[in-house]
Symmetry: D3
């Protein structure tokens, strides 16, 4: 493990997904999934998100489109929250999901809109 890349990853992951969420993920990790948590933190968040060349806002845009197509609702909701944190507006999120519907098909768009509305409703309650 490259300690510096890991630290960078942990910092970015916490800033994008929320400190509380990341601390819980790390604390609840056991022998089974700890190596995976560390791997994701170092490679995805440190070596990936830590790279220059795209802003966090742009990386969030890509993720909303990609994770919609990859059909992973749990991760999509996390990254819709992260996208708002990174400065995307609801209008931009709508445009991304409409483009998803055109390129990946209407059902992918329908699911993305449903999940976004659940996230917005959750946040309105708080």
């Amino acid at each position: 493990m490259d300690q510096q890349t890991y630290e960078t990853g942990l910092k970015i992951r916490s800033e994008v997904l929320g400190k509380e969420y990341v601390e819980n993920s790390m604390k609840s990790a056991d022998d089974f999934n700890k190596p995976f948590q560390e791997f994701v933190t170092e490679y995805c968040w440190g070596a990936g998100w830590g790279r220059p060349g795209l802003s966090r806002k742009e990386r969030s845009m890509l993720n909303l489109a990609m994770i919609s197509i990859l059909n992973r609702p749990h991760e999509l909701k996390l990254h819709i929250r992260g996208a708002l944190t990174n400065g995307l507006t609801k209008d931009q999120i709508r445009e991304i999901f409409m483009q998803v519907a055109i390129y990946a098909g209407v059902p992918a768009g329908v699911d993305a809109f449903r999940q976004a509305r659940e996230v917005f409703a959750d946040q309105a309650k708080k």
Copy 2:
């Protein structure tokens, strides 16, 4: 239908997924899905799993990777249980899902780890 292949399939399916589960599936089958239950038992479990050339442990390894990518959580959980029955350790399951994350992307890995932890938690309760 080839009766012998069907019988072989029923036996292997029961040994891997559990006698109770398979008996319930068969008993609860109605006119609508009975032909499918028989088809799966004969072809997938008899003509597929019944072949020589790979051990059950190896077939379970393949299934964990494939079903993670195919994104079918209900089936994945069944086959995580089956993999434990077939002798895979939790450490091996972790390695499979880390390889899934690398080749099919981090969100596929995240979902696979979450589902495995749910299965392990369920089993710990019993």
Copy 3:
């Protein structure tokens, strides 16, 4: 927007998915998803389903196979209901899902059968 295509779309969508469902979708739409609801109604239902050349029954057959493979359970259930409305029998639905299992794999078939049985059970209660 082409008003006539939109009206055609709204009519077909209501006839296939149910008037109540479509009215609810339209009424509950907010600034965020209203453009998407209109887009889907005009393009998918008006410019798509509104075309000659295939019967509604045939379009339902295609949708059951496609949405099973696209792995969108919420949409699949809607379209199983729509398929019954469009005159497909349960026996035809079974045959479609068995063909899905052969061409897209057993887990896709298993999920499609499970979702169909949930729809049928729901309808039997009413």
Copy 4:
């Protein structure tokens, strides 16, 4: 193997995909892929296509939609030829692929149209 199901499969496969093509597939099979050729013939063509409940034309319709989405151009071309043999018109094939574009996205539709035009151009040469 169920000999009768296998024979049925061989007959249907030859009628749909062409006698010459199937004979070549079988003749060129070696130790490596012969078990697979036999499995596909029995399982997919005998136990699947051999079932009552859907016409061959309907099964071809499903296959064009499914194989477009599964993104398998070589198989798609075979089944476009088979669809013409089973009585689908070019207009019906266009409608199927337009529905694919709506439900699975524009790039899936673009590829399906390109492959169909290649098949039609090939046949026009003969």
Copy 5:
């Protein structure tokens, strides 16, 4: 068809993918695929790309990520060219494809990089 949306779509499509390419697509269209060409132009390029809310550069970013995952090399190459036209740099394209590799897996990234290098090599020849 909404004539104005169609005209907008034709203009944007020509500006992004190149006038020559679009004119050839339209001219070579026959009875079989003309309705699809018109549909794509109106729906994808007029009603989709014609919307405000995202810049063309941002829409290109999304498309590179989405079409890589959708695994459509022919379309991906077109949109890599379009992305350069819309002002994306090679460095930004690299960052997008590295993010694809992390979220959709290494093989999706390897293919995207290979196709981009083919496009760049083609352009260097001219």
Copy 6:
């Protein structure tokens, strides 16, 4: 970058995919794809394949199944060669691809068998 993980990755990658192939990949890398080549070497081959817990033979088995489903023929051929290097027999490869056909559908199996036969034919020529 963690230099030691990178070195481990370079070594394993060369042993599995062939020294010549990996040296060519590295030598032909330019400003555009060099960061990706290094990322894949460190992350996929060092931090992934370099882990204990599964043998190389087992990792090859998983890769053949996964890359078939991910539908990446260029990578699949590389990994069929790698699988032979890692000690898988042709009979084991056949069994893996038959299981792919059952779980991911017949067209995925057909393509995997075709690509394997191309690799075997290439190797027979040398």
